[in-house]
């Protein structure tokens, strides 16, 4: 790093409070980053490979924290770049600094208020017109910068050559070319970050605009970014800028600012941001003419046939193992066939994409092909998460790790070693029926952890492949009936994995109305993976009709509530405009890194809440209130729902452990197993539907409180409880009246 940047570290004045942001995690695993490190910010549109580059530059350790006063998360890490240790900040993906979403506003704020040693723009090499627009805006900030033209391979494949040396010369800024997914060019990028330069670019705007800028500049408060850039943002009435300015200027100065802006606006029929944009586009067009050439598309190399043959062989062997040994069989056979199927499938997918990416990519938004593909994806995910994760791994963790080692050891530790009395308060607190270890930790780690981890892996693969926006495009029309846009598919799908994470993901939705509706539906009826596998097992054992009826009822209620919520809540459906990035083979390293970060989140955020829920149950049990609660709810349970009164326990338990409720129900369908009498098919359907519609687990409830606020959360929970019982009751009467299954 050059002397100025490094010098800014040690001798710099203490940063003002507003710039310090480390959110306090109560149980957090926080890696302390010394404040004196020079900072580098990565900026770019979404889908340009920013996070892959971040991963290359910083390695595994990254902290995610909220930008103060917002719900936007920034990822920070450290890396050795240009010879020194540097802090790298990954800003949210934005296409331009015109801040229309909270994400864009935070990106802009980071750039103009933090003292940055360098801005690194990650640009899409094949979409230079869009990227250069951002480059021009960044250049105007007057901060040292570097531009990385990523996805150079995709540009080459489309016959686009970029004379990046010409661009570097024109702008006076280092340019590099990279293919982040393959790791090409990263070394050059690291080195280039060590010598960032302030761009020598000047866009001359229309005379009235230049005049206004000249009048505004002296009024701008001091800040790292150039006053010209600030003045332009204020002039264009960028969201949040006038408020920001208002906090720093005297009222009469603000009036002057307002007058200057109005006087300028009077000169044009168009809003100023369009006037400004027009000139920027001209500069970009000039740069493009100089540096970008289109050639006939490069001859697409043929995917090596030997690899395809190998892939097909692997799949054939896997099928042979399946046929030969069936579902049971030695461990090596089971693991072996999974491994071969996965490897073979992966290779084939790679081959398919290499040959026919465009065709595949388009067909996926076609309803027939898209739904078929969706069904296939669903099946594969079910095998991976539902069978491997929820089945094999959970059994292993629960019976072996916790069952044979941890729980007995804990009991031994508490009893004989520490001398707690069996059946006494302390003993039960730790290792009793509702013990922190025997129930809380066991649930969190033996049951939920393997499931959410496998789910996050699967989800990360789907994310990186570019499939999800296409799914959103398919879902948009349907979702708009319930007041959601296609983007809501993301939290909904995540909800099938872990509802807690799904509620968190509703942040990506643009309007508050959408976020509330999505949270409501997630809280009401989207079953998380901890429930799903068991639900399927319970209902399927009674025949496919029961399964169909159950699923149908749940979907019906989700649609109904969604539709009504959309009518009742005021507001407009946000616009659905999403980019469909080219389909790519995911990079395993990136998937694993993302999974690691999500798992870390789970351990630090969700696990404590499960322990809290267990504690609540412990207290209720100790105070003999569980029994009381069960008795109070009996009239509803047996009267309205037609279920044996013992199922009340299942509902209460379901609040802490989503699967408990269903496990008890499953045991009841096996004659005489478990604490419940055998249930009839009608009772099973009613019970399962009501349990699924009932409140989400304690962790989800706390997250909902945090994300949507106490009032909205209370409304949602209250509604869900009432609705679940009402729906269950209605279903009960309907099935009996129609003599279904009788």
């Amino acid at each position: 790093m050059d002397a100025t940047a490094a010098g800014r570290g040690k001798g710099a004045p203490r940063r003002p409070r507003s710039v310090q942001h480390r959110r306090r995690h109560r149980f957090g695993l926080r890696r302390r980053v010394p404040r004196e490190l020079p900072r580098v910010a990565l900026v770019g549109s979404p889908n340009v490979g920013k996070s892959v580059i971040f991963h290359h530059l910083t390695g595994l350790y990254a902290t995610v924290s909220n930008y103060p006063g917002t719900t936007v998360q920034l990822t920070r890490g450290t890396g050795h770049l240009g010879g020194t240790l540097v802090e790298v900040i990954d800003t949210p993906g934005v296409a331009s600094l015109s801040a229309l979403s909270e994400d864009a506003r935070v990106a802009r704020d980071v750039l103009i208020t933090e003292e940055l040693a360098a801005i690194v723009q990650i640009a899409d090499a094949k979409n230079l017109q869009r990227s250069l627009l951002l480059t021009v805006q960044l250049a105007e900030l007057g901060l040292p910068m570097v531009v990385d033209l990523n996805m150079a391979d995709e540009a080459a494949a489309r016959g686009i050559t970029v004379d990046w040396r010409a661009l570097a010369e024109e702008l006076g800024v280092p340019f590099v070319e990279t293919v982040a997914t393959a790791g090409h060019g990263i070394g050059a990028l690291r080195e280039a970050i060590g010598r960032p330069r302030v761009a020598r670019l000047r866009v001359t705007y229309d005379a009235p605009v230049e005049k206004a800028i000249g009048l505004l500049e002296p009024l701008m408060p001091p800040c790292p970014a150039s006053k010209r850039a600030l003045a332009l943002m204020v002039l264009c009435r960028e969201p949040g800028m006038l408020d920001w300015l208002g906090k720093r200027l005297a009222p009469d100065e603000m009036r002057r600012v307002d007058n200057i802006i109005r006087a300028c606006e009077d000169n044009f029929d168009l809003p100023l941001f369009l006037v400004v944009q027009r000139r920027r586009r001209e500069v970009v067009d000039r740069l493009l003419r100089r540096a970008v050439r289109h050639q006939p598309k490069a001859e697409r190399g043929v995917y090596p046939p030997s690899r395809v043959a190998l892939a097909l062989t692997a799949i054939a062997v896997s099928l042979a193992l399946l046929v030969g040994y069936g579902g049971e069989g030695p461990l090596w056979a089971t693991l072996g066939r999974y491994l071969l199927a996965i490897l073979g499938g992966w290779e084939l997918a790679g081959a398919a994409l290499a040959h026919a990416e465009e065709k595949i990519s388009l067909r996926l938004t076609n309803p027939l092909f898209g739904l078929a593909a969706g069904a296939v994806v669903l099946y594969v995910v079910y095998r991976f998460v539902g069978v491997l994760g929820a089945g094999t791994l959970v059994d292993f963790f629960e019976s072996v790790i916790f069952g044979q080692y941890i729980n007995p050891a804990a009991e031994h530790l508490c009893g004989p070693v520490l001398g707690m009395r069996q059946g006494g308060l302390l003993y039960d607190f730790f290792v009793g029926e509702y013990g922190m270890i025997t129930m809380g930790l066991t649930y969190a780690f033996a049951i939920v952890f393997p499931i959410v981890t496998t789910f996050f892996i699967a989800f990360g693969i789907l994310e990186d492949s570019g499939y999800l926006p296409r799914l959103a495009a398919l879902a948009n029309r349907l979702f708009s009936r319930v007041g959601l846009s296609g983007q809501a598919i993301l939290p909904m799908v995540l909800g099938l994995g872990c509802g807690t994470m799904a509620v968190l993901t509703t942040r990506i939705l643009e309007t508050r109305r959408e976020r509330i509706i999505a949270t409501l539906l997630l809280g009401l009826g989207v079953p998380c993976s901890a429930q799903l596998a068991i639900i399927v097992a319970v209902t399927a054992s009674l025949g496919w009709k029961v399964l169909l009826l159950t699923v149908g009822a749940i979907v019906f209620h989700l649609a109904l509530v969604g539709y009504l919520a959309a009518r009742v809540l005021p507001g407009e459906k946000p616009d659905f405009i999403v980019e469909l990035p080219p389909m790519r083979m995911p990079v395993l390293g990136n998937v694993l890194r993302k999974t690691w970060m999500r798992v870390r989140w789970y351990v630090t955020e969700a696990v404590p809440l499960f322990l809290l829920g267990t504690f609540i149950l412990f207290v209720l049990d100790r105070a003999d209130l569980l029994g009381v609660l069960a008795r109070w709810s009996e009239p509803v349970i047996s009267g309205l729902l037609g279920l044996p009164r013992q199922t009340a326990m299942a509902f209460i338990m379901g609040f802490v452990r989503r699967d408990y409720a269903v496990v008890m129900l499953r045991e009841a369908t096996i004659a005489g197993g478990g604490p419940l009498p055998e249930l009839t098919p009608v009772q099973v359907v009613v019970a399962v539907v009501t349990v699924v519609l009932f409140v989400p687990c304690v962790a989800s409830v706390f997250i909902i409180i945090r994300e949507r606020g106490l009032r909205v959360a209370a409304a949602i929970v209250g509604f869900v409880i009432a609705y679940a019982f009402a729906a269950g009751g209605a279903l009960n009467y309907l099935l009996r009246a129609l003599h279904v299954f009788q």
Binding site: L100, R130, D269, P469, L474, G486, D575, I577
Partner: protein
């Protein structure tokens, strides 16, 4: 009074009437506005020809006067649209020729122009264009050259001519993806969502947004 002068005067009065939104037109205000563009006493002349009535200091348009004023205003604004969208005039430069055109466009030509432009609802300044018969009937006399993206068929290529929306966030988003006047786009699919290719970017949109993007079909 030559017809052209009547038309000009009535156009002004009709515009004032639109701005007044139902309130009566004060004679003094009308005279003042007319004086800005025409000399002499156009109001007296119009009254003689039976296009306006003067009563208690209020100016009223007769049915004939209303019709002529409205038609002239419509032609004026259609002409502006034609000059700006199809002939690539700057908005500022389009005013003088539009003032001339409005007098020479016959009803048949008016219908054709309106249809070719896709029955535009606003002039380049954002002011409303009074509806014509063709708009109401939506007859396709000439095949539309310019129309909303929502009416293209999959596989067709077109060039973006204008984006008609007051919704700034929508405009911003579209521009960020490169959907700006002048760019070439290609429609890939319409159902269940619109899939459009702009340069090297592919985006998905819903129908509401597609209806705001006006394009000119290519080839």
């Amino acid at each position: 009074m030559p017809l052209q002068r009547s038309e000009d005067a009535l156009e002004i009065i009709y515009r004032l009437k639109q701005d007044a939104e139902g309130k009566p037109l004060d004679e003094g205000a009308v005279r003042e506005e007319l004086a800005r563009h025409l000399d002499g006493d156009p109001l007296a002349e119009l009254r003689e020809q039976g296009y306006v009535r003067l009563r208690d200091g209020i100016v009223e348009l007769t049915p004939e006067g209303e019709k002529l004023g409205r038609t002239t205003l419509r032609l004026h604004r259609l002409a502006e649209r034609l000059l700006v969208d199809v002939l690539s005039f700057d908005v500022g430069d389009a005013e003088p020729p539009a003032c001339e055109f409005e007098h020479v466009i016959s009803p048949e030509v008016e219908e054709s122009i309106c249809t070719v432009l896709g029955h535009p609802r606003e002039c380049p300044h954002g002011l409303p264009i009074p509806e014509g018969e063709c708009c109401r009937a939506e007859r396709r006399v000439a095949e539309k050259v310019i129309g909303p993206l929502a009416e293209l068929e999959p596989g067709q290529r077109a060039r973006v001519v204008y984006i008609l929306t007051k919704n700034h966030p929508r405009l911003h988003k579209l521009m960020a993806f490169g959907v700006v006047p002048g760019t070439e786009i290609r429609l890939h699919a319409k159902y269940p969502s619109f899939v459009v290719e702009v340069g090297e970017t592919t985006i998905a949109l819903d129908e509401d947004v597609a209806e705001d993007i006006f394009v000119a079909k290519l080839s």
